[in-house]
Symmetry: C2
Subunit: 724 residues, 2 copies
Amino acid sequence: MQYPFKCGRIRRLTSYYPVTKGVNMSLEKFFSPQSVAIVGASQKKGKVGYEILTSMVKGGYEGKIFPVNHKTSEIEGLKCYLDLKAIGEVPDLVLIIVPARFVADIMQQCVRVGVKSVVIITAGFKEVGSEGLRMEQQVVQIAKQGGIRFVGPNCLGVMDTASKLNASFGGDLPVQGGIGYLSQSGALLAAILDMANANGIGFSSLVSIGNKADVDELDMIVAMGEDPKTRVIAGYLESITDGELFVRKAEQISNEKPILLIKSGGTTAGAKAASSHTGSLAGGDTAYECVFERAGIIRCNSIEQQFSFAQAFANQPLPKGNNVAVITNAGGPGIMAADAIERAGLGFAKLTDETVEKLTSQLPPAANVLNPIDVLGDALAKPYEFALEVALDDPNVDIALVLLTPQAMTECKETAEAIVRISKKKTEKPILVCFMGANKVASALKVLREGKIPQYNSAESAVSTIRVMTDYLRWKNRPKRVVRLFPVNRRKVENVIDRHLRQGLREVGEADAKEVLEAYGFMTPKGSIATNAEQAVNIAQQIGYPVVMKIWSPDIVHKSDVGGVKVGLNNAREVMDAFDLMMYRIPMKVPDAYILGVLVQQMCKSGLEVILGMNRDPRFGPMMMFGMGGTMVEVLKDVSFYLAPLTADEAKQMLINTRTYKMLQGVRGQEGVDIDAIAEGLQRLSQLVTEFPQIKEMDINPFVVGREGVVPIAVDARMSVEKD
Amino acid sequence: MQYPFKCGRIRRLTSYYPVTKGVNMSLEKFFSPQSVAIVGASQKKGKVGYEILTSMVKGGYEGKIFPVNHKTSEIEGLKCYLDLKAIGEVPDLVLIIVPARFVADIMQQCVRVGVKSVVIITAGFKEVGSEGLRMEQQVVQIAKQGGIRFVGPNCLGVMDTASKLNASFGGDLPVQGGIGYLSQSGALLAAILDMANANGIGFSSLVSIGNKADVDELDMIVAMGEDPKTRVIAGYLESITDGELFVRKAEQISNEKPILLIKSGGTTAGAKAASSHTGSLAGGDTAYECVFERAGIIRCNSIEQQFSFAQAFANQPLPKGNNVAVITNAGGPGIMAADAIERAGLGFAKLTDETVEKLTSQLPPAANVLNPIDVLGDALAKPYEFALEVALDDPNVDIALVLLTPQAMTECKETAEAIVRISKKKTEKPILVCFMGANKVASALKVLREGKIPQYNSAESAVSTIRVMTDYLRWKNRPKRVVRLFPVNRRKVENVIDRHLRQGLREVGEADAKEVLEAYGFMTPKGSIATNAEQAVNIAQQIGYPVVMKIWSPDIVHKSDVGGVKVGLNNAREVMDAFDLMMYRIPMKVPDAYILGVLVQQMCKSGLEVILGMNRDPRFGPMMMFGMGGTMVEVLKDVSFYLAPLTADEAKQMLINTRTYKMLQGVRGQEGVDIDAIAEGLQRLSQLVTEFPQIKEMDINPFVVGREGVVPIAVDARMSVEKD
């Protein structure tokens, strides 16, 4: 059963999206307009209004261009119009380059004329302060009412190679290719473009999304997802507008094509005072890590890395597995590639006997016919071609990595041509190439580029690209996400939460938190509150020794810090002593605390302590946490996070993702614990926090688990709520 | 007191080295010969003998060139000689390019004529099998007797830019610079040369060391260490000839100039059956990691990375600290740099109020005058120059990183010139640069290159270079290594080892191992061997309960695996039961074991269990290990290694290097343990294994440590010995 996303926040967001989409669902006109009006076109060199106009012309755009400028009648041979109305037809796309204070007026004109798609290049809005923000909001208002979608303001513009549209001042239109790029930094986009043009990297489209006042990163990712010319979506982001929607849509799109994102500003976490363990362990970047993992997004740390990856995804098929065959004409680079493959956790293909025989029959006797296949330093193009073809025919080989060092006899260009030939013949398996050197391999690199063979400067970067390809493959082949729904008592939880919210209480006490957990199927230890020492002994005798005693007060959150927890009490004397000591000492330490009594509770004698938790991210919703308990979490911070709602697989994967997972399986003599029971606990907690968005943070600590079949116990719990 | 390296192996190696050195200590003639003879010079294009001759001429070598070839009288206008003797003078350097079978003869000729320095280019020796190895050994023999040092065979040759010597067929002579490069792979060297020449990277010298039959990697590193033109030594190695000597010499040289090495073939560890914990935890690469750490060598994973680092070391001063100031003309790249700096654990410079004021006074109001300093997208060269100079004047700034994206107004080339100007004025602090893009920044990159400003393709690679520079700085400033010598009873250890070696025993039993440890100042638990149950009870009563009992047999190494260990025995009944059960069960499990009795031993009730260990690497000698005990070592493999002999600092650092170091300091309520006592244990063990090279492996497991002032106890120990 697919999880129905019943709860408030998600429902609100799903219903929000179609409102805008309904007006003008497709962003197609931004990429293949039949006509473009340039409002603010200029005849002065150096002015953006001139640069964009000439970019359009130079790029070879074949639609109609309507420069709009009331001060002149002609620019660069093109007739100039007084205003949009004077054009006499409705342009598919309008670029606005006039000063910020005039932009609202032009947008009004657009509405009147019936324009549907606009790019606002002009800067000086939100990014310069409150007056700019006001103007930006005004523009948004006009556009929304007029049913217009717009990119920007404060952006470089839009490029689309198929329609030869260069509606930007970012640089020359690049060659056609499979990469769609969106950037929240215009300057970065210009640098990327310069780099890409120098290296012949092809794009489907490039978009500078600027201030994202209307069209945002997700709109663009969706549009590129729908565009058949885009094989891989890449981008640079500093923020994500609508977190939960982003996760869902990006996950859908990742199933079709890879998304490679740089998300900057991750490490400097906003210092948020968190009262829970989970909250304090989640770094500022944890949410993004979770989101990217869930949505299958490949996170990149630099532009270099991003284009290393993008090249391969855009031009090569996905591998079927992770076994790499290396073909080289020098031993050293072959060993370096083998090292990198082992470090990356990839497989080193074991060639079949048949392959080894074939290679032996044709390669010189000194050649290494095992993997890495060393065709020797004097190899011409032929042995390379032969070895590559034979390797790709081997069923044990999923990916081929060809290394070449330019030696005296090496036919660099011919070898490149041979590789391109083979790649056209064997289209099922990816081929990556590293031709070392520069001048000697320059013409070969050109051949490879034109033949759509991704080329790397080092075996290492080729191997890390292969690793990312296999990671993506694994993600794509993941089992269908089925979130289990447990039968629960929602009414009981509603009551607890409502009561706290009515009373303006944020922190939910242990007893109430446990009532909530019981309503969701958790087992909690037996116990009751004692208000005097005799009562404590009676309760202990009913439960059976040993018992735990905990001070009971809504004002004391960290009980053990004030001496409010005693464990392992074995008889009546110890229980009485503990009670009286707490009553004597704690009021001295926390004089203002209102003390209700002491909880006398069953002690879980054996079992391993773990933590289950949740921290609600303001953008992305509930993040589940699993962690090893006790000193492990203190010392190693051995925890893992994942976005709720969790499937059974995801819950189990959270356990596996901790460094001390083996502790759960049992080590040397120690029995393992019931792993499925922990995973179920995580799923139940995930259901709880998904169904109640008012729950902001939650810890079950410790969650004591025993061997298989033993029901785990939520020994202590903490929870905080807020109005949704 | 400096450790005197008294023990056998090290002494042997120190005395070996000067023998060769005495003959011809300096390798100077390889780099600045006044005359070079080329034996095997050819007039046929494409032949190596022709390529090298023309390389020499084309490179502009100003000394005398003597081609030697008995078949011709002139090559390319140079007079050709019948043989070496016919030259009539002794050439400083002889290159041998004749077929392998003639090489020994030529070497004989060299001896007769009085040549001292030879490069054997010819391949077909050790690398092709046993016949080649025989020929190689013959050549070595002749050279040694004749007092000749030679590079090769099977190499590309030698290049030296100052003397314009290109005695190689690797490619064109590169420009002069501060990088000395040695490579065990000729093909890789050729590729590096091609790449370097295309990017204008300067070298002092490049050497292809080939089969290293005489001159090896260490000789070359020493020679480059002595060469004032070499500012940084870089290389690619597949093996190290003489491990312990390498460590000592490389450490000396690293004090003067950085050594950047790629060591390949590290990950595929030779599967060595190890009987100790320490041995099984030391991976194939652990020894190299230890060696590189001790010797201050910077390990690189790829050529790209190596040249990223080398560029900075060769051309910029070392920073004084790790605080980076970033100057940028775009927000996005600035944030990416800030992220990278935080991830790399570097400091983000906090500018002084004075700096902020100065920047405010001159930069436009919208500019960001905090770090990263954003001079804004329309900044010309001037504001860049101003901001860089002000930043470098700030005492809180140790390193400047300048980022540039080519935008409409950007003066790329002028900005580069400004940076070079500032760098010449402020020579104290390193400047690293990342100009993004390609064609638009090409002329700027040329200016930077000529101005010796290292340039990176991404902020990430600049930042990882800065990280490596600060790591090297920290290594250079490390405290002087002083190895403490404890008063010990060496005689007692000699006796134990001699007895075992005489009897042909490899494994030393627990009792003897403990005797050895006691001789080196370790405390071991009280206890004796019982041969019947009553005796066991008597011993237990003398020691005091609780006790531990362990089966006592030279044939049983893993006692607990056969039920041969019982802990926490509290009374006579339990001791008797344990004794009888062992006597009944163990002979059934290991029928052939010779059982001497059962050890009844004091039980260390409290304290933390750790492991001290040693594994002797065949190349580099004793590697010390420290690890957390119990499940930590099973699950996390939380261990650290370091080369013996250890200083107090190094021993302590080994503890700090474990992931669970905090456990030793004490966490939440648990008291910390005596960290100095553990460090002393490591130092004592280090002294033991340094003084007795016959000890091959050793474990003290567990080593039980208590709070400060409590003497730790070596509860169990294992040791194996071999004839040295």
